[in-house]
Symmetry: C2
Subunit: 348 residues, 2 copies
Amino acid sequence: MEEASHEPSAEPEAVSIAGIRQAAARIGPHVHYTPVMTCRALDEMSGGREVFLKCELFQKTGSFKARGACNAVLLTPPECRDIVTHSSGNHAQALAWAASVKGVNAHIVMPHNSMAVKVAAVRDYGASITLCENTKSGRETTAAAVVSGHPLSTLIHPYNDPRVQCGQGTVGLELVQQVKEQTGGAGLDAVVVPVGGGGLITGVATAVKALCPGIRVIGAEPSKAADAFRSKQSGSLQGHDCEGMPDTIADGLRTTLGSTTWPVVRDSVDEIVTVSEEEIRLWMRVVYERMKLVIEPSAAVGVAALMSPRVRGMPQDVKRVGVVLCGGNVDVTLLQDLLAGDGNPLPV
Amino acid sequence: MEEASHEPSAEPEAVSIAGIRQAAARIGPHVHYTPVMTCRALDEMSGGREVFLKCELFQKTGSFKARGACNAVLLTPPECRDIVTHSSGNHAQALAWAASVKGVNAHIVMPHNSMAVKVAAVRDYGASITLCENTKSGRETTAAAVVSGHPLSTLIHPYNDPRVQCGQGTVGLELVQQVKEQTGGAGLDAVVVPVGGGGLITGVATAVKALCPGIRVIGAEPSKAADAFRSKQSGSLQGHDCEGMPDTIADGLRTTLGSTTWPVVRDSVDEIVTVSEEEIRLWMRVVYERMKLVIEPSAAVGVAALMSPRVRGMPQDVKRVGVVLCGGNVDVTLLQDLLAGDGNPLPV
């Protein structure tokens, strides 16, 4: 055993249940212990299972990303006064917020064509914004330049970082506990987790398999960005099968697995289920109509997977299924479109 | 003491803490124990108080009305197989649902110009619908005709009924308990409750004053439908000061106090605060933007009152304030309008 493992504030070298428990204690005072909600109508639509929705849309900054960002920022050494990342999405807001929790500076590199409302949200958390070309190299070069301009700065990757993964894993810790409480001890049989870069499912799978190895972990991906599905099928890490970024509506899931999330997806995730764009829109709307929850498309991917023939066909002894509603940051135009849709959303 | 008081299933003759506790036990298996949510941004906007939002938008049928309807329906005698009411709003859906819980028939009298989506929602719960003229006498005459056509039927008024009031009072029981748990025992100092016919505030005031007489109960009304405000000021029950129904956007609060809610408002409610239509729209939008909660205008009336100069001017020892977010049934067109509004909603 290494000496470092005696130090609870040490940076984790890889995601682990110990690191997740430490993250829970570290971020607990700052993040929301989000509610787990249920809905009889969704239970019926799922084919008679009991569905438990972990409402990360109500998390700080509107997504689970606040957890990982907070854990990572709080683990930076005291002399580090500048946090850097590149993101145009929920990680950008989360990191800007997390930096403000610690009282340090956030520098967010965002593509020059990011939506103005997202740039404004990041700025509202007090972050400095550097615009860059909307390419992988543009983002990385610009982020590297920002880092080199601030000698004691730290770059925090949105998912390929064990500090971040341990933070996201606290979703799994809470969900297992909450379902146990709500069912009088019966507990979860499966959990459905949306997969983009894999930070969330890496943390959640590590947590729930440690607490209860029998819980099935099901990843949910848009068919248009099914790199994790193809990676699992082939047994080796795959990129996207399209030029550039996939154009799925689920903007949080357009990225690919990373070098530290793929091994966990390979070894601890039971399967990956893919869903169509139509299903994502449908279930986003049904969840609003039936539960009054406005979820972002990436969260609807999890619900759509739950309702897919693949998951509906699972044995009936998979009785209690958790779904992580990963965020609620919806583009207003999209929401208006959905609300203007027809009045008969039910496919079952 | 009357013998009837030994019978826990007896119909209450007036709202009371005993009746509310019995209602909690009776409806507990059927309704949601709704979450209490907090938001740092709202705390700051309120002038530094701690705000606790009781999320009845997540209640069965989308509003607190499910509680009172369920309690009343479960208290009808076994031979009663037909429940009747007149309503075009949340009570209609709630009663239709509550009848289905008991397995009896619901007959809902709705004005012929009710919105089609609301009629469809009531029908979806399995109720029979009778359309009527959109006048007080039209509704009452038609409801009486429906009752006389079903010999063993019972009419359940939306608020002027102690069975209903006791059901709504369970909101207060839960809120007091939940805030105590979330604050490590410190507990509520005040609660803000929207006022229409007064069924909710009658139940909540009775509950919280019985549990903790020091909790201030503040009613919240649209200025356009301020009958409770004027009743409190004059010391006698007042109707509206306009012809017909007031045209406030808060459609759940257009009715006036009843003969059994006015005495409780007079004696147990500390004050009534009125808010403008503009404030209602503003806070509906802020609550969505900051908390991802889609609340109906009637619920926004409570938040607007919390943020009013009157409540902001209360002594700082009123530290922890509950607000009942009474429902989430929003007209889609209104929601689209609000989402299309400008990007700077903050008035403070």
